[in-house]
């Protein structure tokens, strides 16, 4: 049984349909990368999976159960976490408080988990009393991911984590993503920076105009010249 499956999903905003008949699956422990040009519907797909949008057709199945149409705060309790592309931290709260909010639904003590997250992002431990609004883009991205990891999710979804980051910082973020995966978290990552994300992905999907175009292993997609020309321009 796949960890997450999307079956023939149609979704969009109001009358405007963005995704047509999109299907995919993620197995436990994988890093899956979704690439494609702007407006292809990548972000829309993540939002549909996480319940921020309701699909007009198709299903989303997580750990064998349909989560189609469930609200985000229900889905978060099932073991999935989502980091939006922008506005993904609480700027007037400190690092520590942001992480604390990530663990909001936990009733027990979460200090163990907090330590684990700090181990993944040592720089955050140093800055834990700092207001996140004053931090740099790269640090904020780490806070955003740390926050999502507080509930020890089985699947972590990242929407363009390296967007608006300088290449050096993007590199660090990608490296951290691999580290997170090594702790057993499956990752679904949507990226404009196709090359980098395919490098660390086990498999990838190419989405264009709201439809599946290609599906293959990360290596094969990278090597594919047609894709390289059409979509890997960056």
């Amino acid at each position: 049984m796949s960890l997450l499956t999307g079956e023939s999903i149609n979704s969009g905003y109001g009358d405007m349909e963005v995704l047509h008949d999109v299907s995919f699956h993620i197995e436990e422990g994988e890093i899956i990368s979704i690439i494609g040009p702007n407006g292809a519907g990548k972000s829309t797909l993540l939002k549909t999976i996480f319940g921020l949008l309701n699909p007009t057709k198709g299903r989303v199945i997580f750990k064998g159960n349909s989560i189609t149409g469930l609200a985000p705060d229900r889905i978060v309790r099932l073991g999935m976490a989502y980091v939006p592309q922008v506005e993904n931290v609480f700027p007037s709260l400190t690092v520590h408080e942001n992480l604390e909010m990530g663990a909001f639904i936990l009733t027990d003590d979460f200090s163990d988990r907090l330590e684990e997250v700090y181990e993944l992002f040592p720089i955050l431990k140093e800055r834990k009393k700092q207001r996140v609004g004053k931090m740099s883009g790269g640090e904020r991205q780490m806070v955003a991911m740390g926050r999502a990891l507080m509930l020890d999710p089985e699947l972590l979804m990242l929407d363009e984590p390296s967007a608006a980051l300088a290449p050096k910082l993007a590199e660090i973020i990608f490296e951290r993503i691999t580290a997170i995966n090594e702790t057993g978290v499956s990752i679904l990552i949507v990226e404009q920076n196709a090359k980098e994300s395919l490098k660390l992905a086990d498999r990838g999907y190419v989405l264009a105009s709201g439809q599946n175009r290609f599906e293959d292993t990360g290596e094969n997609l990278l090597a594919n010249e047609e894709i390289g020309q059409l979509y890997l321009g960056g």
Binding site: D73, V76, P84, E87, L93, E100, I105, G133
Partner: protein, 307 residues
Amino acid sequence: MQILSRIPQLLIYGVISGSILSLGGIGVSLTYSILGFSNFAHGDFMALGAYIALGLFALFTGLRIPNTPFGPLSFGFGFILSFILAIGLTALAVVLLDRILFKRLRRASSIILMMSSIGVALGLRNILQFFWGPQPHYYIEKIQLARVIPGLNIRIKPDQVFILIVTIIVIGVVHYFLQYTKMGKAMRASADNIALARVTGINTERVILWTWVIGAALAATAGILAGIENKFITPELGWQMLLSIFASVVLGGLGNPYGAILGGMIIGLSEEVSTAFISTGYKPAVAFIIMIIMLLVKPTGLLGRRR
């Protein structure tokens, strides 16, 4: 020179007035940042609190609950009991209002919500007027003598000291709640970005509930304190203060509860001190002008808020 000698006394009045405006403003700020609209009914929540306290007090007096004044204050146990219960009942009433009305408009635009709150404001005010009438109702019959503070040329009444102490305690409690409790932090997080709060798993409906409860409790407190300060209340009590409260909130930074406190104090002081120079008939205009200047110079307010 004559004018200058009046300033210290006016400053005292200003701090009292500012305290009441601050308590009213915190609720407006929280509602704006978490629920996304300016609540024009907030003033009438204050009036509601004031009248519920009045009604309870009449009831308790009838039940012969003792009200011998505490020390130099004008009131005793009976009134304090009414005060506390009124806060609770007002919060309950506002939560009910949310369930019936605002909850169904969660997804509506902020303008529709504002329009709706104006309807609530007028409706609430007239419900109070329907039952109690437009004439003033007195909290405290006797005139209390002001004590002179030697050397400083100012007079202050014990009731006014009570107002200041209550304000400080309440603000302290609110501060502690927002900074050190889980729900308080969740409220601050929701004020930053309620969509993200939902994504994080925070139960935003519960946060909204707390926002209304705290806002209403503060409004009721402010309304009752206003009644103590003015000696009487009328159904128009809230609406009259609403413009000054909005000005305070805008001045401090719409959406920032600490800004509301700062703004409230500044507006309160400005309004009172202005009476030394211009006619009291234009007091509300002072708040309004300060607000307009703020909007032109720094619209995010003194303490700002990144929205």
